[in-house]
Symmetry: C2
Subunit: 218 residues, 2 copies
């Protein structure tokens, strides 16, 4: 597949590198073509990696675009990508609407009766948004075996076929299908985004991000 990855930060780079390593062609998109971090990533990721604008990356994708931009910048980035280049495609939304403007810990810029996943789906109604992977750090997203034992990734979205495609993509990252929990429609983005304050406290308690949650059933 040809996959567009929007965002040049840690999440975009980690996901992009993993996608290339499992045989996908990837174009990393950023505000401008020739972004320093994107160019450095292309050089390190090797064959199959390219870069361009947000619009270049979205247009390049045959089926799947990954939103790895900061949640507070996602609507702008996706608007720059262009609804015409996102229409009919699956958008995997990994973003978290973390607002650091008042320092640490960040607040959520949207929560409770709305979420970034919903705002994106509403802004791009012809795109099938699947919220996933935002509940853990980037290394674990693409290499779940870094955390021993069974632990969980979540998917949420309004389109069952799109969720199946994202589950297949997660399988290619090493996620056993049994460990991927379908939370229902895109409004479940509220739940996974509002998990972030607990994630941040756990990060503070452990002083590292190499953990994930497992939902244990009785």
């Amino acid at each position: 597949m040809r996959i567009g990855v929007l965002g040049t930060g840690m999440v975009g780079q980690t996901i992009g590198t993993k996608l290339v390593s499992v045989g996908q062609e990837v174009k990393m998109g950023s505000r401008v073509k020739g972004n320093d971090k994107a160019i450095a990533w292309v050089q390190s990721a090797g064959t199959g990696a390219g870069e361009g604008t947000f619009a270049d990356a979205a247009q390049f994708a045959d089926e799947i675009v990954i939103n790895a931009t900061a949640g507070t910048a996602s609507i702008d980035a996706l608007s720059a990508a262009g609804s015409e280049h996102l229409a009919g495609k699956i958008l995997v939304d990994i973003s978290n609407p973390l607002d650091f403007s008042a320092g640490f810990p960040p607040l959520l810029s949207v929560c409770n009766d709305d979420s970034m996943g919903e705002q994106i789906q509403n802004a791009f109604p012809d795109t099938r948004v699947v919220k996933s992977l935002n509940t853990m750090n980037a290394k674990i997203m693409v290499e779940p075996s870094l955390v021993p034992g069974s632990h969980n990734a979540f998917v949420a979205g309004n389109d069952a076929d799109a969720k199946r495609a994202v589950i297949s993509l997660l399988e290619s990252f090493g996620w056993p299908p049994k460990d991927i929990i379908d939370l229902g429609d895109i409004t479940a983005s509220r739940g996974v985004e509002m998990f972030l304050p607990l994630w941040l406290r756990l990060y503070g308690s452990f002083d590292r991000g190499s953990f994930n949650i497992a939902v244990m059933r009785g």
Copy 2:
């Protein structure tokens, strides 16, 4: 110990019954003495169980009071209990600020830059508030072995001695100390309360509440 349990709902009854079964004396408090549910609970819980007003229950406690009222009613209930009866004591706050006024799923009446745990601590500065157990259903709170394997309870509060006392209480319920994670001060209430929307989606996906989360470290 003599422990006051504020609230006659499922959480108050389940916690109260467990406390009696492990040898504590318990007074369940509600708005009025002689509440039907409180009387029925006293009859079923047996020796060591009593009931009265919120103030009676708080006054009865020698060290620990449990807030098992609905979060949206907690400040009123604690005000009725009386700051003079709560002063110097530990308040275990199990409440969740769930607002069902717009239907299901409920919203949080406070979140993001504040929490119910913090509001309670601020309203009762002479009481040592420890947020705990609000992240799971009542049966698992008092019988963690209902969920196989290791899974977690959290504590958060400003007073280290108070947290140690609550951890001891949880041990008496069957929680291994290694499974109790200290999240730091009372502002961590934001994290555990904002976990509820994810808990509610998991409840929806599984169609039952008999689950808990385990934090798995890599």
